[in-house]
C-alpha cells in the first residue's frame, strides 16, 4: 500500500515509515489488517492513547507526529505480546515500538526516571548507578572463591555473564549466590567478569537508546575477546536475548544459553542432589525474553518439577501468552510514570493470578522479577503468604546448599 504524502512539508510519518521499512521484516508493517489484536493483547493497550494498531493507523493516515507528541509509547514494556499474536507477523515490538521510542528519545521526550537509568548506564555501565568496582561484591565470602577472570586469567568452560540486577540488587544477590553454589556442586569450571562486565544494554535498547546499547555491546565484546571460554551462560533473560539475537550483528558472537537451559541439560546429574523436599504449589512466571521471545518454556518448568514435593500449577497467562512483570523495555525505570498513567502495576496483576492459581511460591527466572513481585505482594490483598523465589534459589534449597 502506498502512503499519500503531504506536499507541503516533509512528513514525520513518511520519514518514520521509511525507517521502519528498513528494519528486519519491517516491510511487513504494510500488511497490517488493522484487526486490533495487538492493541487488545497489549497489557497497557487500554490506557495508551495510541496502542500499536492505532500507531500503524496513524502512520498510514499521516498523523504520526501526534504519536510522537503524546507519551503513550512509554507505556510499552516491550513484552512482545503484540508481535507474538499479530496475524501478519509484523515485528511490532522490535521495529515499530522500539523505533518510536528512539524517536521520542532523540526529541528529548524522556521521562526523568528513565533518563537517570540511561545516564547511569552511560557513566557507570549499569542502570542502577552503582560503582563498577563493586560489581562482583556479591561473591565476597563465597567458598570456593568465585573465579574472577581478570584475576586468574584461567581458561574456563563457562563464562557466566552475571548481569546488572543479579550483581547489584540486594534482593537478587541471594539468587546469584545460589547459582554460584549450584555451579560449584556440579563441578562446572566457570568464571565471571566482575568489574569488567558492562550492562548488556538490551532493556536500554528497547527503551530507545540504540547508541548506548551499541556502546555496551562493544565494551562487552572487547572484554569477551580477552578470555578463553567455550560458552556464555546468563542469569538474565534480557542479557541472553542481547547476546543471542543482537550482539552477533555487531560482531560479538558466542554460543549463549540462559542458566535454566544449561542446568536442565544436566538434569540427570542434578536429580540425585535434590534431597530436601519443598512441599509447595509453585506457579512459574515465564519471563518475556526467555519464553515468548526465545521459546524457552519447558526447561525452567522441568527443573522445578524435578524438586521433590513440588506441585507445579499454571496461571491464567502462561507460556506464549504470559503476562509481563512490567519491567521490560524500560518499564523497570518507568515505575512512577506508568503508575501515574495506569494506577496499577503489571506485577500486581501477576501476583493476583498466582494467588488465584493457588500458588504458595511464585517461581521466576529473571532478575527483574523478585523485587517487582515482592513489592506487589505487599499491596495485594490475600497475597501475603505468597513467596517469590528464583529457580536457582529453589534448586539450591533442595540441594541443601
Amino acid at each position: 500500500m502506498e502512503i499519500t504524502l503531504s506536499p507541503l512539508e516533509p512528513s514525520v510519518s513518511k520519514t518514520f515509515l521509511t525507517s521502519v521499512l528498513g528494519l528486519e521484516n519491517g516491510e511487513r508493517i504494510r500488511t497490517c489488517l488493522q484487526c486490533g489484536t495487538c492493541s487488545g493483547v497489549c497489557p497497557f493497550g487500554y490506557i495508551m492513547k495510541f496502542p500499536p494498531g492505532k500507531m500503524i493507523g496513524a502512520l498510514r493516515s499521516e498523523f504520526f507526529d501526534q504519536v510522537i507528541k503524546s507519551d503513550s509509547v512509554w507505556m510499552c514494556v516491550s513484552c512482545n505480546a503484540c508481535s507474538a499474536f499479530c496475524p501478519s507477523n509484523i515485528p511490532i515490538t522490535a521495529a515499530l515500538m522500539t523505533r518510536a521510542k528512539e524517536e521520542m528519545l532523540l526529541a528529548g521526550n524522556v521521562p526523568t526516571e528513565l533518563q537517570s537509568a540511561l545516564e547511569n548506564t552511560q557513566r557507570y555501565g549499569n542502570p542502577l548507578g552503582e560503582s563498577p568496582r563493586k560489581r562482583a561484591d556479591w561473591a565476597i565470602g563465597l567458598q570456593p572463591e568465585v573465579n574472577l577472570l581478570a584475576k586468574t586469567r584461567q581458561p574456563v568452560d563457562v563464562l557466566w555473564y552475571v548481569g546488572d540486577y543479579a550483581s547489584y540488587h540486594s534482593r537478587m544477590q541471594s539468587a546469584t549466590k545460589a547459582l554460584a553454589k549450584i555451579l560449584n556442586v556440579l563441578g562446572i569450571k566457570f568464571g565471571i567478569l566482575g568489574p569488567e562486565e558492562y550492562s548488556d544494554g538490551d532493556s536500554q535498547r528497547l527503551a530507545g537508546e540504540r547508541g548506548l546499547f551499541e556502546m555496551m555491546a562493544q565494551k562487552n565484546g572487547q572484554i569477551f575477546r580477552r578470555y578463553k571460554f567455550n560458552e556464555i551462560i546468563t542469569t538474565d533473560p534480557h542479557a541472553f536475548n542481547a547476546l543471542k539475537n543482537e550482539y552477533p550483528s555487531l560482531g560479538v558472537s558466542y554460543p549463549v544459553r540462559h542458566y535454566t537451559q544449561f542446568l536442565y541439560e544436566r538434569i540427570e546429574q542434578i536429580k540425585p542432589l535434590l534431597k530436601t523436599e519443598i512441599k509447595a504449589r509453585i506457579a512459574y512466571h515465564d519471563p518475556c525474553y526467555l519464553g515468548r521471545v526465545n521459546g524457552i518454556f519447558d526447561e525452567p518448568r522441568n527443573l522445578l518439577k524435578a524438586i521433590p514435593g513440588v506441585e507445579l500449577v499454571e496461571m491464567t497467562h502462561q507460556r506464549l501468552n504470559s503476562l509481563c512483570c512490567g519491567g521490560g523495555g524500560g518499564g523497570m525505570w518507568l515505575d512512577g510514570f506508568q503508575w501515574e498513567k495506569a494506577h496499577t502495576r503489571l506485577s500486581e496483576w501477576r501476583v493476583r493470578e498466582a494467588v488465584a492459581a493457588g500458588a504458595e511460591i511464585l517461581a521466576v527466572g529473571c532478575p527483574y522479577e523478585p523485587p517487582r513481585f515482592e513489592d506487589a505482594i505487599k499491596t495485594i490483598q490475600d497475597a501475603g503468604q505468597l513467596k517469590v523465589r528464583e529457580i536457582a534459589e529453589l534448586l539450591a534449597q533442595a540441594m541443601g546448599l
Binding site: 528512539e102 528519545l105 532523540l106 528529548g108 524522556v110 526523568t112 533518563q115 540511561l118 545516564e119 552511560q122 557513566r123 557507570y124 548507578g129 552503582e130 560503582s131 568496582r133 530507545g208 537508546e209 540504540r210 547508541g211 548506548l212 556502546m215
Partner: protein, 253 residues
C-alpha cells in the same frame, strides 16, 4: 545574548571517599570525578535561555576526567563554544578557580554568567560570588528561574520556607543557579557521538594558580562516632525492640 557557564567537577560519591596519608586531603587513587550537579543545571538554564531568547552559550571547564565527554554532551544540547583550561589543578581551590575563570571571562565579555550555586567540595566559599568579586559584577545566588528583559534579567531567588523573590539585575551579572527551570535534558548517546566528530574543544593553558584567600585544611577525617551516640547491635527485630524501649525511656512513646 552571550551566556558563559564556568563549571567544575567534584568527587563522585558512588565510590567511597578515603583520606590520603597527609590527613588533609582526599585520596585520589580511586576517586572518580563527576560534574557538579548545580553546574549541570546552570548549563541547562543557559540552553533554555538560548532557546527562548537566542544568543550564544559558552561552557568553560578545567581539564579533568570526563571533561571532554561533558563538553561534547553540552555541545549536543546546544552549547556553541567549548573551552577547556589546561594546567596543574591538583591543589586548586575556589579562589584560584575564580581567578582563572575571571581571566577567560574578561576576554569573552559575556552578558550573563551562570554557574552552579554550590558544590559539595566547596571548602572556601562557592565559585559564583568569588567570580563576581573578581569581575566587579553583581551576584545573585540560589536562583531557580531566569527571564531576560532587554539589558536586565529577572532572577527568581529561592529562600527557605518556600519564599521566592524576583530580583531585577542589570547585565552583565553572575547568577548562582540552584535549579534550572526544567531538569537537565537527556541526550541520546548517538547524538553525542555525532558531535564528537564535529565539535571543537578550545584548549587554553593556564599558568600557576593564585590560591590566596583560600582555606588551609588542618585535618580531614571520616565522620567520627560521638560519645553520646549509642550503636544498636543485633538483628532487625532485636534492634527494633531496643529502639522502642529507648523511645519509651525517653518518654517519646
Amino acid at each position: 545574548m552571550k551566556i558563559a557557564v564556568p563549571v567544575k567537577f567534584v568527587p563522585d560519591l558512588v565510590e567511597e571517599l578515603n583520606i590520603d596519608p597527609s590527613g588533609t586531603a582526599l585520596d585520589t587513587a580511586w576517586l572518580r570525578l563527576i560534574i557538579n550537579e548545580f553546574d549541570d543545571h546552570a548549563v541547562e538554564q543557559a540552553i533554555l535561555l538560548k532557546e527562548k531568547e537566542g544568543g550564544q552559550v559558552t561552557v568553560i571547564t578545567i581539564e579533568s576526567e570526563g571533561a571532554d565527554d561533558f563538553l561534547f554532551a553540552a555541545a549536543a544540547k546546544g552549547t556553541d563554544q567549548l573551552i577547556k583550561l589546561t594546567g596543574d589543578f591538583s591543589h586548586a581551590n575556589n579562589h584560584g578557580l575564580a581567578r582563572v575563570y575571571a581571566d577567560i571571562l574578561k576576554e569573552l565579555q559575556p552578558d550573563l554568567i551562570l554557574t552552579g550555586v554550590q558544590a559539595h567540595n566547596d571548602l572556601d566559599g562557592s565559585v559564583g560570588p568569588l567570580l563576581a568579586e573578581q569581575l566587579g559584577l553583581p551576584y545573585v545566588g540560589y536562583v531557580a528561574g531566569v527571564s531576560v528583559m532587554g539589558d536586565k534579567v529577572i532572577a527568581r531567588k529561592e529562600y527557605s520556607g518556600g519564599l521566592v523573590a524576583e530580583i531585577e539585575i542589570k547585565l552583565p551579572a553572575v547568577l548562582g543557579i540552584q535549579a534550572s527551570e526544567q531538569p537537565p535534558r537527556y541526550i541520546a548517546y548517538s547524538k553525542i557521538r555525532q558531535v564528537m566528530g564535529t565539535a571543537k574543544i578550545e584548549e587554553k593553558t593556564v599558568a600557576a594558580l593564585d590560591l590566596s584567600g583560600g582555606t588551609t585544611v588542618s585535618r580531614m577525617f571520616q565522620p567520627e562516632v560521638a560519645q553520646r551516640a549509642t550503636m544498636l547491635e543485633g538483628g532487625t527485630d532485636e534492634v527494633a525492640d531496643k529502639l522502642v524501649s529507648i523511645f519509651k525511656e525517653l518518654g517519646t512513646l
